[in-house]
Amino acid sequence: MSRLLAALVLAAFGLAACGEREQVIQPVSEKRYQGKRDSKPWDNDSPVAELRGGKWTKGNQASWEEQIKIRQLAQHEHKRIYQ
């Protein structure tokens, strides 16, 4: 909730989350994002089973990434075929 409120406050005042973003590459300009701050996928709860989504520990980026990398192997038919 607080994350959400923070986002709204930032959006309302147009401050943008400039300090927050990790803009690794900005070779062309030093400009900064002026919009609302987005939340991170891993900060959500895992969805209900019916949505056929993944499972991770809320707020734990590594656990989210781990499950998404495993899911990605569904695009690798060799894994299903030679499992």
Binding site: N44, D45, E50, L51, R52, E77, R80, I81
Partner: protein
């Protein structure tokens, strides 16, 4: 406005948001309840191009989520889909990575099936309609039923039951198809057919006559075990895109892929080699290849000796007639390409020949199909993993509807109508009084006479009465899930529509038939909205013979009703409602009635499978696939291996059913009853396995001896573990007794099996005991390279009726005319010779061929009504070679007229207005038009003739408006792939 699942609701505009899903977290609801924010968000949203959002904020779409597992309805691959449903609304579609068939993959059609659940701006038929004074008028179901049944009974009284032609559907599930087959018979006619006629009837006949069953020998998956694939008459990349997952995987592991086609297709773009040949010259191409194989001694001599009859006769003829040079002269294919195919297939065994409509939709298709079979037999490619004839069926359930559905010559399971025993068998299974059934027919003679075919129902209307082989001409047509624009000679169909007394169209999207009819008529037609396959449950048979069970995703939308409900209700009105659900002798649980839409009764799909299909379809082993077993497979797809489709282990959590050893979807034949747990047969005729392990043999269908030559398999050829190590005939009570195995039957089985065969013993005991001893119930015989009961015992090349090569017509003429074929006079030579005499090839010098696009399916009304698909193909078009275009001053994208020798009744040739797509994909002698379009009539948009709100988004010229006369000698398959045309700038 929130879409409700209320059965009788009208078309409800559905907002984008009503279909959003609340996740279990509170963010969204809490967010929306904050009024200030909501307003702000709404204001922003309204500026956006996404316009459907406005009232959304007020919505509260909370509701329980459910997942329904279903199968795509757009082709025969059988891709699984998880449909996420909330409050009865289909809100999300998720891939099923566990499916061993599609591994989560979809083509454009499969990835868009959720559109079927969207009511906002739906182009479905929403309520029953009637043509009155040239306008489509809404009526109630009751009124429609009353008027239709009254009219039908009146016409029946005047002209007999054979005045009806009932076109069923390959999009019905197995249970509906079986019920509709029965429905036609309870009405009293064999005049019923469905898409299989114009899809693979020639395949079914050719394969069946060669080795016993008419189906795809292996599976899509099994291509992964192949070393070579020859696509001859299949554009799988557009027609069966997900099958290409297996094809491409195979190719990446070294399998050689060859595509032979008049057109460089998307499939050809993924092949190692593309070979062009003239449309309709498949037999010379195949026999040119076979000549090279024989000449080099590449045939599998041991296999031919042990398992094939008559190859020596074929060899003699092929060596004489079809040198690669001669084949090249007919096909236009370079000799080295013919040699390349032969060499590649010989050096890379096992391999498949793969085909679809490219082989089957020719007036010589029975020969083409058999030539393919013969090449595969010569190479020893049939009856083994990685080799065989993979015939790609079209519709999602065209295999199942062929097996158990409304066919003019057979009852479910290919029991021929001409054999009285078939009727006794099915009357018993249906629990219908056979004497009553006989009285429903005009006579017992008509009961035994195969009906007309869907390819030619128009001739049943238009032909002179004394030329047809039944009392009355056709006066009524019911289109029950079938497009009109998939049949050839569309211009003449309009004439038939002018003449008939009654047309009833039962379909979710009946638009092309409706528009054609309203174009020429003021009254005489009814449209009834049917539910889609996502609005009912039931089983569906994929091309590889695997059955999958669909769960009902949503309730039937608008006023639509399920097909089984309409069948039952209409049967009641016509006086055979009780027979329809098998109530003889007060039996109440044969097919139970369950509550369907609006609390109304409909026949149970599970009971239909269990008590009719499982109980009666012994010939092709639809007996072991109980609803419980199929449902367990659907819940446990992950246990099935992708390469073998076999379950390595696993227990169903819900029922405790042990899946170990089952092949996915229990591909038929799954012999015996469900209790004996036959695992299904993944590869037909594969003797390397025990029958209870999925093994099989060639069928002993043609006797035991021909002219002193043994027709049974030779010594040493039998299923692994068989107690008989040589060929044997079909099993029956006599053979069982002779072998001393009779006493292995239980007493109950004995009582049922006495005097019976493996195909009509209702206990399944004969099959059980045969398989226990390692024997295939239908015998162990040789395949036939010579079909001595057909006009062409050895396949012959016969030029298309409308051929661009009069010199070839002289050398390879077609058949003589036939006075009666499937109740109708059928022309061959007279049409062909007239065309040569009239020099049609000069006025129409180009070959016109047709085919599929990936975005659309079949007649296309359904898919052209789906905006996600329609956006991708918005105009009817033809493919034309740059030279052909340049010679005619045609630029890419311009409108052109394509005219054919087809005649308009008012005079003049039929012509189509399409856009020119200039491409080297077709040769300079060929024009290609995709066949899914309808809604234009020779340049005129038929929009005014559609029922309001039901016209598809995209309309265009139907190629079959312009296709010409021409039918297969055996099955009356229509010729759609080779006719002639001319192109001119519009």
């Amino acid at each position: 406005m929130l879409l409700t699942r209320k059965a009788t609701g009208q078309a409800v505009p559905q907002s984008r948001l009503s279909r959003t899903i609340p996740i279990q977290t509170l963010d969204r609801r809490t967010f929306l309840k904050r009024s200030g924010i909501t307003v702000g968000a709404g204001a922003v949203a309204s500026q956006l191009p996404f316009s459907m959002i406005r009232e959304a904020e007020a919505q509260n779409a909370e509701g329980k989520l459910e997942v329904k597992r279903t199968i795509c309805t757009h082709c025969s691959v059988g891709c699984a889909i998880d449909a996420v449903v909330q409050n009865g609304v289909w809100v999300r579609q998720e891939p099923v990575f566990d499916s061993p068939i599609n591994l989560g993959a979809h083509c454009a059609k499969g990835a868009s099936v959720r559109e079927h659940g969207i009511t906002h701006d739906s182009h479905r038929l929403k309520y029953p309609m009637k043509l009155e004074g040239g306008k489509w008028k809404r009526v109630s179901w009751d009124q429609a039923y009353d008027e239709i049944s009254k009219k039908m009974l009146e016409i029946r009284k005047q002209s007999g039951p054979d005045s009806l032609f009932l076109v069923g559907s390959s999009k019905h599930n197995n249970e509906q198809a079986e019920l509709l087959c029965k429905w036609a018979r309870l009405w009293g006619t064999n005049n019923t057919d469905h898409q299989a006629r114009i899809c693979h009837s020639t395949t079914v006949a050719g394969l069946g006559q060669t080795w016993g069953y008419g189906a795809m020998t292996n599976s899509y998956n099994d291509e992964q075990n192949s070393k070579s694939l020859l696509f001859l008459g299949s554009n799988a990349a557009e027609a069966h895109p997900v099958s290409m997952l297996h094809t491409i995987h195979a190719r990446e592991n070294g399998c050689k892929v060859i595509v032979a086609d008049p057109r460089f297709t998307r499939t050809a773009a993924k092949a190692d080699k593309y070979v062009r040949f003239r449309s309709g010259t498949d037999v010379p191409l195949l026999f040119g290849v076979l000549h090279v194989i024989f000449k080099n001694g590449w045939e599998d001599k041991e296999y031919l000796k042990n398992r094939v009859y008559g190859m020596d006769q074929v060899k003699k003829e092929v060596m004489e007639k079809w040198s690669p040079q001669q084949a090249s002269a007919v096909t236009g294919t370079p000799v080295e390409d013919i040699e390349y195919i032969a060499k590649t297939m010989a050096e890379n065994r096992p391999g498949f020949i793969i085909w679809a409509m490219g082989q089957t939709q020719h007036n010589n298709a029975n020969g083409i199909v058999r030539a393919s079979n013969i090449v595969q037999l010569a190479l020893g490619n049939v009856g083994r993993s990685g080799g065989g004839c993979n015939v790609y069926r079209g519709h999602d359930n065209v295999q199942g509807a062929t097996d158990v559905g409304p066919n003019p010559d057979t009852l479910p399971g290919y029991y021929p109508v001409a054999v009285p025993g078939s009727w006794t068998h099915w009357a018993k299974v249906w629990n219908v009084d056979i004497e009553w059934l006989k009285k429903q027919y005009a006579s017992e003679a008509m009961m035994a006479k195969p009906g007309m075919t869907v390819s030619r129902w128009i001739d049943g209307v238009l032909e002179k009465n004394d030329a047809i082989d039944q009392d009355s001409n056709l006066r009524m047509i019911i289109y029950w899930g079938h497009a009109p624009n998939s049949q050839s000679r569309g211009s003449e169909m309009l004439e038939a529509m002018k003449k008939i007394d009654l047309m009833v169209v039962i379909d979710p999207y009946p638009s092309a038939s409706a528009a054609m009819f309203a174009k020429v008529r003021q009254d005489g037609a009814y449209l009834l909205p049917a539910a889609t396959q996502f609005e009912t449950d039931g089983s569906v048979t994929a091309s590889n013979r695997s059955l999958q069970w669909r769960e009902k995703v949503i309730e039937p939308l608008f006023e639509s009703r399920t097909d089984q409900m309409i069948m039952y209700q209409l049967a009641g009105k016509l006086g055979f409602g009780d027979q329809f659900i098998g109530k003889k002798d007060g039996k109440a649980d044969h097919i139970r009635l369950v509550k369907g839409k609006g609390g109304m009764d409909e026949p149970s799909m599970e009971d239909t499978l269990r008590n009719e299909i499982n109980a009666g379809t012994w010939t092709i082993g639809y007996t072991g696939q109980s609803p419980e077993r199929l449902q367990a497979h659907m819940r446990n797809m992950h246990v099935f291996d992708v390469k073998t489709t076999r379950a390595r282990g696993g227990k169903d959590a819900k029922t405790g059913y042990d899946l170990t050893g089952d092949y996915f979807g229990l591909p038929w034949p799954c012999y015996g009853n469900a209790k004996i747990k036959h695992p299904g047969t993944p590869l037909l005729y594969d003797t390397h396995k025990h029958p209870m392990d999925g093994g099989h043999a060639f069928r002993a269908l043609f006797g035991v001896e021909k002219d002193g030559v043994n027709l049974l398999a030779e010594d040493g050829i039998a299923n692994k573990g068989s107690d008989i190590t040589t060929g044997y005939p079909q099993f029956d009570h006599v053979l069982l007794k002779k072998l001393g195995w009779w006493d292995e039957l239980t007493d109950e089985e004995k009582a049922a099996a006495e005097g019976k065969t493996w195909a009509n013993d209702l206990s399944g005991g004969i099959q059980r005991v045969a398989m226990k001893h390692g024997c295939t119930p239908f015998g162990n015989a040789k395949a036939r390279a010579v079909v001595w009961n057909w006009p062409d015992q050895i396949p012959q090349h016969r030029e298309p009726l409308f051929s661009p090569r009069p010199d070839m017509v002289e050398k390879y003429p077609t058949h003589d005319d036939v006075k009666v074929l499937w109740r109708l006079p059928t022309l061959f030579k007279s049409v062909q010779q007239q065309a040569v005499k009239d020099e049609v090839y000069k006025k129409f010098p180009l070959v016109l061929t047709s085919g599929r696009l990936v975005e659309y399916e079949g007649g296309g009304d359904e898919t052209r009504s789906n905006p996600w698909l329609a956006e991708l193909q918005q105009d009817g078009f033809c493919e034309i070679n740059p030279k052909t275009a340049a010679d005619r001053g045609i630029r890419n994208g311009e409108w052109v007229w394509v005219s054919t020798p087809g005649k308009n009744p008012g005079g003049g040739n039929v012509r189509l207005k399409v856009k020119a797509k200039v491409t080297e994909g077709v040769g300079p002698d060929t024009i290609f038009i995709p066949f899914h379009f309808a809604g234009w009539w020779q340049g005129e948009d038929m929009l005014p003739y559609y029922p309001e709100g039901s016209a598809p988004i995209v309309r265009g010229e139907a190629v079959n408006t312009a296709t010409t006369y021409g039918y297969d000698r055996i099955t009356l398959m229509q010729e759609t792939k080779t006719t002639l045309c001319q192109v001119a700038k519009a």
